[in-house]
Each structure stands twice: as structure tokens, then as C-alpha cells.
């Protein structure tokens, strides 16, 4: 398992190449001007990419363009978006823009504290592009 956090990868033939059986978790990192961000085999176990909500907000249109341009592999993508209720509107917009023309599974659930207290409400949305 490789965890890459705040890693900047630029101007390589492949930004991150994850071969068969590899498991890679990429968090708050950037990849620019590479031939490919991630190259994977059909048997690649898992690639996770975690972005802060601020990052998603800043590059949302670019992300949406990339997903649209690679719609044929969209079924291999699973996107987990988390945000507080205060920004659920932006979250919905992000989920909408990141969706592809394929079927989209969107779950929006609210987790209440077990003791019924009003503090620390959270909102979790899971968006998965499926075949």
C-alpha cells in the first residue's frame, strides 16, 4: 500500500504508474503535464484519489472536462465526496458536474449523533460512475 500525500508530479511520461496488484492512495497532490496521470492494468486492485473540497472547488470544471473526455473508462471510477451540510449545495453541483452520461449512483445520507445531540452533523455523498 502506497500513500502519497502532498506529492507534486509533473513532466514525466507517466505521473503515477500503478502496476497490477498495486494499491495507491493519493491525497491532496497535484499532477501536471504528464503523459498520463495514472496508468493501470486491468487487474489493478485499487487507486484512491483524495482531494480537499477547496481543491475540488478550484478545479471542478477541469475535472469535469477530463471525465467527459474519458467517458469510456468512467465505469472504473468511484468518487467519494464528503462535506458539511453547510456546503451541500456546492457538493451537489460538484456531483452533477462530475457525473458522466452513464448511470450515476448518488447517495446522500445524514448521520445524526447517536445521543441525539445537534452537534457535528455531517453530510456524506457517494458518487459512483457505473457501467
Amino acid at each position: 500500500m502506497a500513500i502519497l500525500e502532498r506529492v507534486r508530479v509533473s513532466v514525466n511520461s507517466y505521473g503515477v504508474y500503478a502496476a497490477s496488484g498495486a494499491s495507491v492512495d493519493i491525497r491532496n497532490s497535484t499532477a501536471t503535464d504528464n503523459g498520463n496521470l495514472v496508468a493501470s492494468s486491468e487487474h489493478l486492485e485499487r487507486i484512491g484519489v483524495t482531494l480537499s473540497f477547496g481543491t475540488v472547488e478550484r478545479i471542478l470544471d477541469q475535472l469535469a472536462d477530463v471525465f467527459q473526455a474519458h467517458a469510456l473508462v468512467a465505469h472504473r471510477l468511484a468518487i467519494l465526496l464528503r462535506a458539511s451540510l453547510a456546503v451541500s449545495g456546492e457538493l451537489n453541483r460538484a456531483a452533477s458536474l462530475l457525473g458522466t452520461r452513464r448511470s450515476v449512483v448518488f447517495r446522500h445520507s445524514r448521520h445524526e449523533p447517536a445521543d441525539g445531540a445537534s452537534k457535528s452533523r455531517s453530510c456524506q455523498a457517494r458518487l459512483a460512475a457505473v457501467q
Binding site: V11, N12, A19
Partner: protein, 66 residues
């Protein structure tokens, strides 16, 4: 194995972790390699990279195959 504050510039592979249980790379720059910037092939190893800049390498910036 822990690497911190290194600048690796030019050569074949910048960092090649072929065996071992854990690798930590922090605050390093790996650039201008003919092959891979960081090559990780150790099977089952735990890899942690923080604040690493990998650029201008001929093949992969980071290759993970272990």
C-alpha cells in the same frame, strides 16, 4: 527506510525501493531521471510519501508495482 530532505537529480532511477517492509519519503525532490523518479517494487511494503516533488523524469514519476 526513511529519506528526508534529499534532492536527487539525474541518473537511472532516482529512488528504487526493491525490498523492505516500509519506506518513508519526506520533503524530497526527484528530477531529471532517465527512467523512473521513484520506483517501488518491494512486495507488500508500506509506502508513505509526504511533500515530495517528482518532475522531468523519462518514464514514470512514481512507479508502484509491489
Amino acid at each position: 527506510v526513511s529519506l528526508e530532505g534529499l534532492q536527487v537529480n539525474g541518473g537511472g532511477n532516482g529512488i528504487n525501493f526493491a525490498s523492505g517492509s516500509e519506506l518513508r519519503v519526506k520533503d524530497c525532490v526527484v528530477s531529471n531521471m532517465e527512467l523512473n523518479g521513484i520506483q517501488l517494487t518491494a512486495t507488500g511494503a508500506a509506502i508513505f510519501m509526504n511533500d515530495v516533488d517528482v518532475h522531468d523524469n523519462g518514464q514514470s514519476g512514481i512507479l508502484v508495482s509491489g
